[in-house]
Amino acid sequence: MITSLFPAPFTRLAQRLSLSAALSVVIMASVAMPAQAGKAVLNLGMSVEPTGLDPTIAAPVAIGQVTWQNVFEGLVSIDESGKVRPQLAKSWDVSPDGLTYTFKLQTGVKFHDGETFNSTTAKFALERARGKDSVNPQKRFFASIASIDTPDPETLVLHLSQSTGSLLYWLGWPASVMVGPKSAASDKTHPVGTGPFKFVNWAKGDKVELAKNEAYWNSQVSVKLDKVTFRFIADPQAQAAALKAGDVDAIPEFAAPELMSSFKDDPRLVTKIGNTELKVVAGMNNSRKPFDDKRVRQALMMAIDRQTVIDGAWSGLGTAIGSHYTPNDPGYQDMTGVLPYNPEKAKALLAEAGYPNGFTFTIKSPQMAYAPRSAQVMQAMFAEIGVTMNIEPTEFPAKWVQDVMKDRAYEMTIVAHAEPMDIDIYSRDPYYFNYKNPVFNDLVKKVQETTDPALQIKINEEAQKILAEDVPALYLFVMPKLGVWDKNLKGLWENEPIPSNVLTNVAWKE
């Protein structure tokens, strides 16, 4: 016997150690077993913990990423390709003048607390969103609704004060979901919706747990997961470790592109690079010298080689853009050729604008990884045309929102715009670009005046072109959706036309 080679105390120690090792293996196995057995449990990792769980009263994207389509549903929804689909409204009819929307609602729909969903409930939800005390982050969506009628429980009629071509699309957003009159006040901490998953528990700072809604109204959907846990892991290294250790099954939006290649060797995991609506743009204060001169803005755009920015800032993962529009938006036009990289021409333009020796300015850069990295690459490129850019780190969201959004006390900044199809921000007044172009504003208005999608696409094409030539902001790239998950997991969205984690069709491979 090998142990007899050692003195007695060592033998006892070895026995004890092996006993405790065996014990801990048994304990660990028993802890791990339940997750393996049913395969109806999902642990999903997210970078940002939501602040509150009601997407109708606060803006942070992470709220919708937990509750939209899982807990809460809308009159309509937006599918993985970005199209509007019926949901709690099974059909609708728009009057020829675009001023009356008549929705036919689903019947037999109940909230998780048993409350019935009907036209009265829908009216309540919309009135709450557009009312005087509303703190809905997208209150402007509902601005054109003049009155709401409920002729019967199945019918909801919206009367508009002016035609609003994007209304249906907007009604599919997280901020437009249907909430119950009895539960609305406590949705922030205990969300109650009509969706396929019920809220179970929120361990703040750690996780949100959902469970399958056995009484889900939509019989055409068969939900495979019994239990879903959203785990919040801020640090990218910790995210990678959690994936590799099997603590989480999926991270739909992995936070660090430079670590993506580290998953390639793991046979248990797959990586999926999809598209998002996150447009990284360097906005300029168009009312400030020298950015009030279009030639200066164009020169700065031509000084930038977008691919180099993408390589430097996001490990080469991303798509160059030339306007405030992404390749998955309807009517996308590639505008990167309008002001292509050409430092010589940029220098000439600067001289023409009266800056033959360049100028000096400051960029306010938030701390999110993409921003300082992009800014550093841009800094080097601007230097080549004689322009000196100082980088001022600016805490996001607090200081950035204050300085840039509210006070507009900045020269240039850089940020990823997450809202889908938000080209209209350049017509908003006030908005941080201080961009004022009546021709552009007219186009944005025209989009709302028609409900014809083909015509909307045509107008948006023109709007893209104006922005590409006018460059109120330097258009850099669209961020990819970096998904990493267990290879046996099916049904997670690979693309993200709207920030979300829709779990309705997610299942483990049999």
């Binding site: 606060a58 361990a203 703040k204 801020a234 603590d247 805490e395 607090a398 204050q402």
Partner: protein, 315 residues
């Protein structure tokens, strides 16, 4: 003695009052409006006004300060802006992670440092001393979060023995919860153990040169008995002092380690509250940290008086 206690206690209350006002004023000076952060980039002026009113942000500074202090004194720490739940509950939830973590780390550092420091002092310039000096220098120099990363790489991703992070909660049983705390506590404990080893070594060395140890040796007591019965107990005062101060440091300073291991502790709460400008939660947490430091210092002072009669005579 009673008068002294009273004076010290009054000082403690005054310090806390000053700290609370300072915290409030500084929070108010911070750039960034909680309401506009919550509403995001599409907020209209009237929505913003509605939310500011709902949160009470449209009231004057002194009034808000008064309400806060009155609330804290009556045990109501207010509602978190972002989570929408009472902050007191949040702090208690987080303490259930941070306190055990800090205690675990203290325990580990004592278990490592006190024997190591004592041996180093007993065998001055010997191998134990060299090892102890090396250990304390390296462990003080190496940042805790880096040790944390190394532990994760070795025990979680490579060997697969430990969870890489997260906290299952005490409800899931003692073993899973403790297992989640082993690596974070180790990472936190190492630098502390380095400091404590040095303190122990110096303190034991000093007592070894005292007259009473010489007397004990002269009376024929063995070297080992002198070390453990006379030198070590007399070295306890500086060791306990260091432990007291380290404890506050561990509770407040665990933020990086909590981040790496994704532990829902108090440090993470403070960090999140700051970045979201959840001013109420931020104020409460900082006040809690401040109170912890002030009270801990008070207790350490008092323990001197309790342990050493000479100090009582001086004051």
């Amino acid at each position: 003695m009673i008068a002294l206690l009273g004076r010290r206690f009054a000082g403690l209350i005054l310090t806390l009052a000053a700290v609370s006002f300072l915290i409030f004023a500084v929070m108010d000076l911070l750039p960034g409006d909680p309401a506009s952060i919550m509403l995001g980039t599409s907020a209209t002026p009237e929505t913003l006004a509605a939310l500011r009113h709902e949160l009470g942000l449209d009231q004057p500074l002194l009034l808000r300060y008064g309400q806060w202090v009155a609330g804290v004194l009556s045990g109501d720490l207010g509602q978190s802006y972002t989570y929408g739940v009472p902050v007191a509950g949040l702090i208690i939830e987080r303490l259930a992670v941070t306190l055990p973590l800090a205690l675990f780390a203290i325990l580990l550092s004592v278990v490592i440092a006190v024997p190591l420091g004592t041996f180093a002092a007993a065998r001055r310039d010997g191998i134990a001393d060299i090892i102890a000096t090396l250990f304390s220098q390296v462990s003080i120099a190496v940042p805790a979060f880096w040790v944390a990363l190394l532990l994760i790489i070795l025990f979680s991703t490579t060997l697969g023995l430990m969870p890489a992070g997260g906290f299952p909660g005490w409800g899931s049983g003692l073993w899973p919860a403790l297992q989640a705390l082993v690596m974070p506590a180790t990472a936190l404990a190492l630098p502390q153990a380095g400091v404590l080893t040095r303190v122990t070594r110096t303190a034991v060395l000093e007592t070894l040169h005292e007259d009473f140890t010489r007397t004990a040796l002269a009376k024929g007591l063995s070297a080992r008995a002198v070390l453990w019965r006379h030198a070590v107990p007399n070295a306890l005062v500086p060791i306990l002092t260091t432990l007291g101060l380290q404890f506050t440091f561990l509770v407040a300073g665990a933020i990086l380690v909590e981040n790496v291991f994704n532990l829902p502790g108090l440090g993470r709460l403070a960090f999140q509250a700051l970045s979201q400008r959840d001013i109420i939660a931020m104020q409460d947490v900082v006040l809690f940290f401040a109170a912890l430091v002030v009270i801990m210092n008070f207790l350490v002072d008092m323990s001197y008086l309790a342990i050493d009669p000479r100090l009582r005579k001086d004051v």
